[in-house]
């Protein structure tokens, strides 16, 4: 009986024990009989760079012998199929090498192992698979045949991923260790070289070029985004500014990038192409993935801001001939780049780059749509004769591809990216869609540019899993709609969390750390949500409503393929408390294995260890504050105070623990100068104090004192509003930094400028202040029922919502007496008044823009505009003193709230 049990145990466990952990999973794994040890086996490798690197990948101390002319000796043999050594291995081992780029085969039998690749990189991949197969020093007798479905897979950020491992370090060992981690998981793109538009210094380029060469030897392509702009901020002619440039200019102040475009100046385009070539040469590599970026913006209504092109461009290209200008520029750039980088993969994110625009039903596509989208794509594709020139698109729903293919032709290469997702968590599973645009016999590229992959290694390895093998467990075909679902993509699908993620963690973190890191990654922790719930929920709802929402570009919605919005709630934060507790516990238990990873990867691990207790402290404090807020809103102030007492104790304990933890890890090396977490003890203590003060506020109607006290929340327009109000003798205007009840209660009225408020505070404190405290609030712009606040307002009886943003470049609005007055900004939100709303300002065609009304003991005014100046009649804003109708609206609002006329200062 005992024997039987033992045999049974052996039979049950044998396949599990023998099957190595491989990531990405291989296509074919045919187990043979038995296992053998690789200890002491020499490595024989072809005298070729990738074979040499591959030989170095085989773990353990052993002889590594360059070149071989027979396979008689027991050992590990590595060669490329087309070489004499490779042909010998194929013959001696009876190998069937997949006839696919990057493909390879491995055969392990009787103390001998052969790894033969279809090409150089395939051979290297064979070696790294062999590394995973023999991680325990034993290998199963087996045959592996493997190749990728998609040749270019994933992308790791240089700036936020690779360079982080090298932070503060002399030499490049950290960056090289990071690249090793990439190619060992068969990821073959590095992107996100910050400031790559000819602005990197020679010293920076020298470092980068060494890293790029190291990466290239390991099959990794360098993704750079040249631009069609003739000049940027460093190459522009002296005296050129965004304002005085004659044609289309684009400034991104937050990134300090300036781009100057013109389609009619071929000479300048050629000079730009030459500059790009000279710059790219400094990378010192040939495996370049070049995505030429045209003007970014204008959507299908005015793509690339074509309507703003200069007179010369107009003379050369008619309104419907943007494609001609595009073909001309792309050809110049492509030909010049191709001439110098024949191996490069070159293309462009032809604008508009959302293939999902084809989700617009044909009967809703007007002439403009066809000219700017479908015909443009078609004409560009037929105009660029180089078939290797790819089109870069945001991944569309699978069904869209058929029409897209019809438009651009069957031969055109496609480089498809994910949706620039701003992931709230640390591991996200939307990469399961990465292989969903697989096309048989194509050489398409999947480029992940997701923000979460900036340093989020496990996620990018998942992208590798599903592009290497489009049928990997859990693979999904992206159906269109929201690409990223924050509620689901950090905790499921189960098959990924339970099967794929443990493999990723095993190969990346090693078998000791893997169980802990798997639990950490599957915990559902969302640091970005904890840190800024309002911003995250807003973003979620934007992509849920408009799958093509691009956080980098202002554009209009075209496709309505929406998911219901997510309502923020204490429950969401409670789940984060639980997740953070789990992460802390797992990392604490994993501490004993920290030494099992290399010192550079250890930084990435330590970063989690440093942050996790802070995540917990902030999540718990926020959860408690939210619960207290709900109690205050319900009038249960005493209970709220009790809860906040408990919250104070927990905050003290949690932050003390977090600070002790930081102290304990102080000697550990970091990935950055400062820890990336804004919710420190003081910040949360301030929030707790505000909540406590709010719970202690006895709301009563106010009596206006000698001066009208006006609070102005610190949004962009606050300075201009204060400047205006400071001109009145009976007003004292103060900038305030929060909307706690205690703060609001200090003022007779408050101007709540468009900004990022916690939704709970906004919907609890503002109404309480007005209805019970008799205060007055002026809500500005997006606060009037914008999607950011789930299209709701705190006073639905006055304004229900503001569904539409409307351009107003004529900058005129109509007062209730019919007079037209100039507005400061170039757009407004059209308001939908509630039953008690009185419209006081409208658009010229009578749509409500300012609505006011009473609510409880107080009053509210909704102003669908921001109080900012639209510089040169554009969306660029300037903080100037209120003028025109904006000044009148603010003055009228305060007089309406207080029944006191404002008196100008005497000069």
């Amino acid at each position: 009986m005992q024997k039987f049990v033992l045999i049974l145990f052996f039979l049950v466990t044998l396949p599990i024990a023998a099957r190595p952990v491989l990531q990405p999973e291989v296509k074919e794994y045919i187990p043979g009989n038995g296992t053998f040890s690789i200890t002491g086996l020499p490595v024989f490798y072809q005298d070729q760079k990738q074979c040499e690197i591959g030989a170095g990948e085989i773990p353990g101390n052993r002889k590594r012998i360059k070149g071989f002319n027979n396979t008689a000796e027991k050992g590990i043999y590595i060669a490329v199929a087309s070489s004499p050594e490779g042909e010998m291995l194929i013959r001696d081992f009876a190998l069937d090498v997949p006839q696919k780029k990057q493909g390879y085969t491995i055969k392990a039998v009787d103390g001998k192992i052969a790894a033969v690749g279809f090409d150089n990189i395939g051979t290297l991949y064979g070696a790294v698979t062999l590394r995973q197969m023999a991680a325990d020093g034993q290998i199963e007798c087996t045959v592996v045949r493997d190749y990728p479905d998609i040749l270019w897979r994933g992308a790791m950020s240089y700036g936020r991923g690779i360079a982080k491992w090298n932070y503060g370090e002399r030499g490049l060992a950290g960056s090289k260790a990071a690249i090793d981690a990439l190619f060992r998981h068969k990821i073959n793109i590095i992107s996100d070289f910050h400031r790559t538009s000819q602005t990197l210094s020679d010293a920076e380029l020298e470092v980068i070029s060494e890293i790029c060469r190291y990466a290239e030897e390991r099959g990794i392509w360098i993704c750079i985004w040249p631009n069609t702009s003739l000049y940027n901020q460093t190459t522009k002619p002296a005296g050129t500014t965004l304002k005085n440039w004659h044609c289309v200019a684009d400034g991104r102040p937050s990134r300090r990038v300036e781009s100057y475009y013109c389609w009619s100046d071929d000479r300048a385009t050629e000079e730009n192409a030459v500059r790009q070539v000279e710059f790219l040469k400094k990378f010192g590599v040939s495996k370049l993935l070049l995505v030429i970026h045209p003007v970014d913006g204008g959507s299908e209504k005015d793509p690339e801001f074509w309507s703003r092109r200069c007179q010369k461009c107009r003379e050369k290209f008619k309104d419907d001939e943007r494609w001609k200008a595009g073909v001309r520029q792309f050809n110049i750039l492509n030909n010049t780049l191709r001439k110098h980088f024949p191996e490069a993969v070159i293309g462009s994110c032809i604008y508009p780059y959302h293939a999902d625009m084809l989700a617009v039903p044909r009967n809703r596509r007007d002439r403009r749509f066809n000219t700017n989208v479908t015909e443009y794509w078609k004409n560009i594709s037929s105009g660029i004769k180089d078939e290797n020139f790819f089109f870069n698109i945001w991944m569309p729903g699978h069904s869209i591809m058929k029409e897209y293919r019809e438009i651009i032709g069957s031969k055109r290469k496609i480089n498809y990216t994910d949706h620039y997702c701003l992931s709230a968590g640390i591991f996200a599973t939307y990469h399961r869609y990465a292989g969903s645009l697989y096309e048989e016999n194509s050489e398409n590229v999947f480029l992940s540019v997701a923000q979460d992959t900036f340093g989020q290694w496990e996620s990018i390895f998942l992208a590798g899993e599903h592009t290497w093998n489009r049928n990997a467990p859990g693979s999904g075909i992206y159906p269109g709609g929201a690409f990223y679902d924050g509620l689901k993509d950090h905790t499921g699908p189960a098959v990924i969390m339970e099967k794929t993620l443990p493999r990723i963690c095993h190969t990346f973190w090693g078998k000791e750390l893997a169980p802990y890191m798997t639990a950490v990654m599957a915990s559902g922790i969302m640091p970005r949500y904890i840190e800024n719930p309002a911003a995250v929920i807003t973003y979620w709802n934007k992509v849920r409503r408009d799958p093509m929402y691009d956080p980098n570009v202002k554009k209009d919605t075209l496709v309505n393929n929406s998911l219901p919005p997510v309502e923020d709630s204490p429950e969401l934060m409670r789940r984060q408390v639980i997740a953070a507790e789990s992460v802390c516990k797992q990392l604490a238990s994993a501490g004993k294995y920290f030494d099992s990873v290399n010192p550079y990867q250890r930084r990435y691990l330590v970063n989690f260890a440093r942050l996790a207790p802070l995540w917990l402290a902030a999540a718990r404090a926020q959860y408690n504050i939210r619960c207290a807020g709900e109690l205050i809103a319900a009038g249960n102030n005493v209970q709220a105070l009790k809860l906040l007492e408990k919250a104070q104790k927990e905050l003290d304990a949690d932050y003390t623990a977090a600070e002790k933890n930081l102290d304990a890890l102080r000697a550990e090396k970091s990935m950055a100068r400062r820890i990336s977490w804004s919710l420190d003890r003081n910040t949360m203590q301030k929030q707790l104090d505000e909540a406590r003060a709010s719970a202690q506020v006895l709301l009563q109607p106010r009596r206006i004192g000698r001066f009208i006290k006006v609070g102005i929340t610190q949004g962009d327009s606050a300075v201009g509003i204060k400047k205006f109000l400071d001109r009145f003798a009976n007003v004292r205007a103060t900038l305030i930094d929060n909307i706690s009840l205690a703060e609001l209660d200090k003022y007779d009225c408050v101007i709540v400028t468009a900004g990022n408020y916690k939704k709970a505070e906004f919907f609890q404190n503002i109404p309480a202040y007005v209805r019970k405290g008799g205060g007055g609030v002026l809500l500005e712009g997006m606060l009037c029922g914008h999607e950011r606040f789930d299209s709701k307002t705190p006073f639905p009886e006055i304004v229900k919502t503001s569904p539409a943003r409307v351009d107003n470049f004529q900058r005129k609005l109509k007062k209730s007496d019919g007079t037209l007055v100039k507005s400061m900004y170039v757009d407004y939100f059209e308001l939908i008044p509630g039953k008690d709303g009185e419209t006081t300002v409208t658009s010229t065609d009578g749509k409500p823009v300012v609505v006011r009304g009473r609510a409880g003991l107080g009053k509210a005014v909704f102003c669908g505009m921001v109080n900012l100046e639209g510089v040169n009649n554009t969306f660029v804003t300037a903080q100037t003193e209120l003028s025109g109708i904006n000044a009148q609206i603010v003055q009228d609002a305060i007089e309406y709230f207080t029944n006191i006329k404002l008196r100008r200062n005497k000069r």
Partner: protein, 367 residues
């Protein structure tokens, strides 16, 4: 050319419909203009300019103006600029500038006289102008007006049942509101800043509610002199006024209640001069803070109960021959206002102002 324009304006402005006169554009009044037995409508934007001794007299019809401007080039003596009687008046959102009656005479005290009338005066701005005088009228609402840099604001003479609410008086050199022989009026939620005298109840002015007014600066807040009985003075705020209440006069009689007022940073809170022997004064639920003398008594029967005194040098001062006030249930503690330094006199949640008033009510500014 200019003359021609004025002439045209004058010609086209007299758009007379049966029973109605409509003014728009510019109207010069340089002599007595009488509009009788018909309505006068002055349209928004119309500029009415008084010159010399020009006077507008509207009688036995209605008078309405909305968004018009009234200015005078010069002050006048012993005369009004506008006289309205026997009808309904509506003055809204108009501006009155420099309408001054330089030497008022009996029954001629102000620049606008409204007599035997009903109606509304609201949302107007009176700049450097003499008072609106409501004579022998009932039921006029005067609200949301702004009176600035004038001599006096609103005068009620032998009038009643008027609502004088939410007006603002700034830098009035004489008074803000004066009631002479008027009864049953409501003076509520008005603001007075730096007015020599904010409210004056005079000559048997009685049964008047003076509530919720805010008085900042000035010599005297609310003065009752020879006034009648039944006045209730409640929930008024006095900040930095020399004397908050000055109540007396030989014929001052009947009972007056001062309740729930807040007196802060004043020299005197209450001065009760010699009064008729039967006069009684009840001072209750008031918050009196940072004041030299709370109650100065020269006569009459004064009862003070459930008041809060804080930083008061002398709670009472009794002049020879007077009866000391009966003071009971006083609270002597920091009132714990929310933010008195910035004009917020609402009590904090742990303030002694709460529930220590009469019958467990509150002390201070509670209406």
């Amino acid at each position: 050319m200019k003359k021609f324009s004025v002439l045209c304006a004058a010609v086209f402005s007299w758009l007379t419909l049966p029973g109605q006169t409509v003014w728009e554009g510019e109207k010069i009044i340089d002599k007595e203009v009488v509009i009788a037995k018909q309505d006068l409508l002055i349209k928004p934007g119309c500029k009415v300019i008084f010159k010399g001794k020009g006077e507008l007299i509207v009688q036995q019809g209605s008078f309405s103006a909305d968004g018009a401007e009234f200015t005078a080039e010069n002050p006048v003596e012993k005369q009004f600029r506008i006289r309205f009687s026997n009808g309904n008046i509506s003055l809204k959102n108009c501006t009155f500038d420099h309408l001054i009656c330089k030497t008022p005479a009996r029954h001629i005290d102000g620049s606008i006289r409204i007599q035997y009338a009903k109606g509304t005066v609201s949302g107007n701005t009176f700049n450097r102008s003499s008072a609106i005088a409501l004579l022998n009228s009932n039921g006029v609402t005067v609200e949301n007006n702004q009176f600035t840099d004038g001599e006096n604001g609103i005068l009620l003479f032998n009038s009643g049942e008027h609502r004088i609410v939410n007006n603002s008086f700034v830098n009035m050199s004489d008074f803000g509101i004066r009631l002479n022989g008027s009864e049953l009026n409501q003076l509520a939620n008005n603001r007075f800043e730096n007015c020599t005298l904010a409210v004056f109840l005079y000559n048997k002015a009685g049964n008047t509610q003076v509530t919720g007014n805010s008085i900042f600066g000035g010599k005297a807040g609310i003065k009752l002199w020879h006034s009648g009985s039944g006045n209730v003075i409640s929930a008024n705020l006095f900040e930095n006024v020399k004397t908050a209440f000055d109540a007396g006069g030989k014929s001052f009689s009947g009972s007056t209640i001062y309740a729930n007022n807040c007196i802060y940073d004043c020299l005197y809170a209450f001065i009760i001069p010699k009064t008729a022997p039967d006069a009684s004064v009840l001072i209750r639920d008031n918050a009196i803070c940072k004041t030299r003398v709370a109650i100065s008594v020269n006569g009459g029967k004064v009862t003070a109960e459930n008041n809060l005194f804080w930083q008061v040098k002398n709670i009472s001062a009794v002049n020879p021959g007077s009866t000391a006030p009966e003071i009971r249930n006083s609270v002597k503690a920091d009132p714990l206002f929310k933010d008195a330094a910035n004009g917020d006199y609402r009590p904090a949640d742990n303030s002694p102002l709460l529930k220590n008033g009469t019958n467990g009510g509150n002390i201070g500014l509670f209406q």
